[in-house]
Amino acid sequence: MIFFRKLWAIVWKDLLSELRTKEMILSMCLFSFLVLIIFSFALGAEVMNLKTIVPGILWVVFIFSGLMGLGRAFGAERDRGTLPGLLLCPLSPWGIYLAKMVGTFIFTAIMEIFTLSIFIILFNLNLLPFLLPLGLIFFLGTLGFSAIGTLFSAMSAATKSRDTILSILVFPITVPMLIAAVKATETILAGKTVTEVYSPLKILIAFDLIYLLIAYLTFTFIIEE
């Protein structure tokens, strides 16, 4: 219980400092909005068979905009010189990782909800009937993305060229998550039932569990100087 209270203290600190400046969440949302606009220009006014390309567009936007938030998770701590303070928290490295991951997850989720609402308006697509299965897929995908993203954010904070190296690290590793998530979203949007997306869902769950486990085992080495 105390573990969760400590964890929440760090999450709350991140949320509060973000709420004061709104710097990151605003730039993430604005960026995702712009990418959607770019996509609609690039695809032309009349797109045939919208439902087959929607999952791809959505996940590309999620990952690109999510990447902006990832860099900040540990990068901001290092810039402000508060990283040693964070590491001194009476919490295991795994707890610190988990708190940061929950923060990243919340920011990414807010951005995703924002993107989805803009998307529904811009592309005139009714997602309401699929909300529950899609929510599950987005939850699992975002969890996996935050899990590896937070790990790599801590890694790239220790490098000279932070954002470049972060994207180089994140993109190849997210490939299985991206494939499974896009496949599942596509199947659901095609009007099929949840039972038909079991195999991509299994991959998403395996992805989340494997990377959470690796983070549990190795995070202490990443923050060690």
Binding site: M155, P176, I179
Partner: protein
Amino acid sequence: MTKRIFEITFEVVTFLLMLAALYAIFIYAPIEKTMGIVQKIFYLHVPAAFLAFFAFFITFLASIVYLYKKDQKWDVIAYCSAEIGVLFCTIVLITGPIWAKPVWNVWWTWDPRLTTTLILWFIYLAYLMLRGVVRENQRANLSAVFGIIGFANVPITFFAIRLWRTIHPVIITSEGINISKPMKYTLLLTFCAFFLFFLSLLKNRIKLERLKIKTEKVRAVYEEIFSS
């Protein structure tokens, strides 16, 4: 002294085996009936693919041992093996399309094996880049963690891409190798030759890296004396 003799013998044997492999590939092995001469690239492609995966596996193991023991020796092994793995992986990715164009009529297809190899190549390039930009005191730790993450990614990527269909030829099945006898011997020979070649590359690369670390240390001491 005996160590030196052993090393020289090893290099000579590797060289001779590589020559024998070349002879076997171009003269001994018969020309395949339907694919023609281009099939010979298979003798280069398959051992290189195997060794690329093997090299990344060594990086994965050495990374784990490094995090456990904190001995720089293992970090050097992981780094050198990753570098050679990227080299072999590049060979695989170049020879593959050359073979695929006349046989499949496309340079590239998004088959699980091809895609997994490509992603693996990207991951270990990222590994090498990470080593280049990370601060020195954290280099070994971070690259070890990334070495583990990268290899753990292989099976998930493979299964994720299997959601689509495969057309990569399955040569080696559980029932044995699916080709004629001279081809089998040639493949076996190239396997051995490439394996020794890999070991010799790895050994020399590790030696070079160790010398580099040693010179850096000497230089640091020298500068300290010189500046004071």
